[in-house]
Amino acid sequence: MFLINCPYCGERDQSEFSAGGEAHIVRPKQPTELSDDKWAEFLFMRKNIKGVQLERWNHTHGCRKWFNMARDTSNDKIHAVYKMGEKPPIK
């Protein structure tokens, strides 16, 4: 159990949130011209690093807004929380 600082509502318990996977994955501009391998790479392949990772989260049981988070996957320490569309404050 840990607290997450929702950029809209403030500090809330982690159980109110749901994780939405890796953030900042850019959709290819011309999907029709991509090879199947490249398309699969975009759809399925995600980094799963040990250390600080940029992730998307949703405050499901609160304001229902999406936001981004820089979280250390090894100890769940949250380094930064920022809104959708904003640039990551670290790295």
């Binding site: 159990m1 109110e16 049981h61 609160g62 304001c63």
Partner: protein
């Protein structure tokens, strides 16, 4: 809408907690983003739309709760007859939804309003809720959406030791029974 049935039948009173259902009350969900929407709502209801997170505003009849940066809930203080509920909805729908300023949805039947009173209500809620009520307790008009015994709820701090809690209709009986159980042990 025409036949109002509730699963919650009676008000319950415990030593320091009183729980009762207040229904049918008017509830309308508002969604909108631009400034025109905000001013229009202010004019229609003569209540300023709360833009600060976790706050509310209101007058004698209606309350406006902040749910998210572009979502609000209107609810009435007292029980209404279903005709007044429909007339306000129609008015807002014509002026806001039809002019594409925002969206208006009647959620009267979607949420059940339960009133909690007494000095020990926060102890009772804390038995099944991860939310920190320390600051919430003393700030009149505060609003929060959280989980209570794994069920989504909206809690509005109406007055000192006087809360209005909204729960989805399908979960209302379950939560009502849980609250009755929980209230016996605080």
């Amino acid at each position: 809408m025409l036949n109002y049935n509730s699963t919650i039948i009676e008000a319950k009173e415990f030593s320091d907690i009183k729980i009762s259902e207040v229904e049918p009350t008017l509830k309308i969900n508002l969604r909108g983003k631009n400034r025109d929407f905000v001013t229009k709502i202010g004019k229609e209801l003569s209540i300023i739309l709360p833009t600060d997170p976790n706050t509310s505003s209101g007058n004698k009849e209606l309350n406006l709760l902040w749910l998210s940066p572009d979502e609000w809930l209107i609810y009435s203080n007292d029980k209404n007859n279903l005709k007044t509920i429909n007339s306000l909805e129609d008015k807002l729908f014509n002026d806001i939804s039809k002019t594409k300023l925002g969206s208006v949805t009647n959620v009267t039947d979607h949420w059940i309003m339960i009133n909690l009173k007494g000095p020990k209500i926060f102890d009772m809620l804390s038995a099944g809720c991860p939310f920190n009520f320390n600051k919430f307790k003393d700030s009149k008009g505060a609003v929060t959406q959280t989980l209570l015994n794994h069920v989504d709820v909206i809690i509005h701090n109406k007055d000192i030791n006087n809360l209005n809690l909204f729960v989805r209709r399908s979960f209302s009986n379950h939560l009502w029974l849980w609250m009755n159980d929980s209230a016996r042990f605080v």
